[in-house]
Symmetry: C2
Subunit: 304 residues, 2 copies
């Protein structure tokens, strides 16, 4: 069952040749969630052979152009391609003003329903929930209101060991409680521990997207123990002062957050255009948090 992130762009605001601004697609069991949509993202869909019509939910972190200027073009292309299934968009409330104005001026009446979910940036919240998964907003600390997103699978029910159930004559009516982790107690008060009757299912997986933000430890509780963390790393540590004034992070700071949050793996991205060679950014992060990778455009990262 897929849980795979694809990087469509990870440059910061000043464009570089062949480098695209932030956009990612998260495939959770063949459901496709897009996070941020910088200028040119629809071209990246073509390049990496993703189908636009598979997208069901779009999450925009904030209203700096390098994180959303590709959105209206992408929505318009979906319309021209004949999409009729609804799309859900999450972002700051004013994002809807931009979309509405631009669609109105082009006299575009979308063939599909656009359902906009405004996110608030002053407190984390559950913004999406279904039987299998949960999506929470994360309060980031940037120059303008900015929201990260945490995608988590829900814990799956434990798997029953049928031979053991038969051996202990467990009544069928108790199977549900066993799946939820309860011990079995028979009429005579004898207890059979759950672990003797069931095995655990695959662990739920999680991905946290944190961009753009300055170094802020208040997010640590929100992202504790995630399998995969994307944290912006616009600068190297020698520009820590510049990172601070622009509300961005250094590679070292991203790694420090990853370490303190005890995540499995860190991806750094949103690289300043000044870095032609990204390896020093990676090396710097790895001095603090070894399991770090660069969020290079076109690369995929799976959580098993």
């Amino acid at each position: 069952m897929n849980f795979e992130l694809t990087i469509l762009g990870s440059s910061s605001a000043t464009p570089i040749h062949q480098g695209h601004p932030t956009a990612q697609v998260l495939n959770i069991r063949e459901r496709f969630f897009m996070i941020d949509c910088g200028e040119g993202t629809q071209g990246q869909f073509l390049k990496y052979k993703f189908k636009l019509n598979k997208l069901s939910h779009i999450f925009i972190s904030h209203l700096h152009g390098d994180h959303y200027l590709g959105l209206v073009g992408l929505l318009s292309t979906m319309h021209l391609q004949g999409r009729t299934t609804e799309i859900h968009i999450y972002g700051q409330p004013e994002l809807m003003d931009v979309i509405e104005l631009q669609l109105r001026l082009s006299q575009t009446r979308l063939r599909y329903q656009l359902i906009f979910h405004p996110v608030q940036h002053y407190a984390p919240a559950i913004i999406y929930e279904d039987d299998d998964m949960l999506i929470k907003s994360i309060v980031l600390n940037h120059r303008i209101p900015c929201t990260g997103y945490l995608f988590s699978e829900k814990p799956k029910p434990r798997k029953l060991i049928i031979s053991k159930l038969q051996q202990h004559n467990i009544p069928f009516s108790f199977y549900g409680r066993l799946k939820d982790g309860f011990d079995y107690e028979d009429d005579e008060g004898k207890i059979i521990p759950n672990t003797e009757l069931t095995i655990s299912s695959t662990a739920p997986r999680s991905y946290a997207f944190c961009s753009d933000t300055c170094y802020d430890e208040s997010i640590i509780d929100e992202i504790k123990g995630v399998n995969l963390l994307y944290h912006e790393a616009t600068f190297m540590n020698d520009l820590a002062e510049r990172a601070k004034t622009t509300f961005h992070s250094t590679s070292l700071q991203a790694a420090t957050i990853a370490k303190k949050a005890g995540v499995d793996k860190l991806l750094v991205g949103h690289f300043s255009a000044r870095y032609r060679d990204l390896k020093p950014l990676l090396d710097e992060a790895r001095t603090v948090f070894k399991n770090t990778e660069l969020a290079i455009e076109g690369h995929k990262f799976s959580v098993e």
Copy 2:
């Protein structure tokens, strides 16, 4: 002295891999005018090694996304690159609403002055004039208000033949009138024709941009005799009905306009994504107007 058009993109609304939406740069004697700015245009500046800071004027035809969605990102990048010289933008009045909203939401205070010139689409008008050139708007006929642009050099003064002036003892005070084409008359009423005393300068050059528009002969008077005409040709003639309902033109129609307007050369562009091979569009146009070229991305067209 340059008069050179560079095509940065000529795809229509539905994006194709490696094909960019409309954007052009017109270099008139090292002054750089941009016409339209589809999504990804700032990336095209990098690719074709144009310097953003050389741009002085930007002309947007209309508010369909494939003609302007790259503008706010480009303005923002100029700001991040430290531009301080003013920029002039021409477009439908509502374009300023879009720019203002997006800059406000990103809390961007531009370091340079942005001077917006609203254009009206119900009548052609002179929208720019200086000592050397003139820019007029052209009323196009599209689904929403849409403006073409005509760039013309002003006629240059005639060149004096110094030896002839000396031979005829023409007083210095009359040189200005000779440059403007007047004959000389001496005190005794003897006339020396201007053509004996001067030679003509290089002919003024002109470029007309007409996209998007359905076939409409009312533009012919506006673009009569231009050296270079860009006219949209979204479809082949077998889709003339579709061209009509979408307010676009066929390649044959573009050529018919070029022929009736007596232009020197025609460029066709704004190709529908359905055409992988563009040669049939060119062939079709050439059946009516031989001196036609395709506006291929990256190609340059000079007027001598």
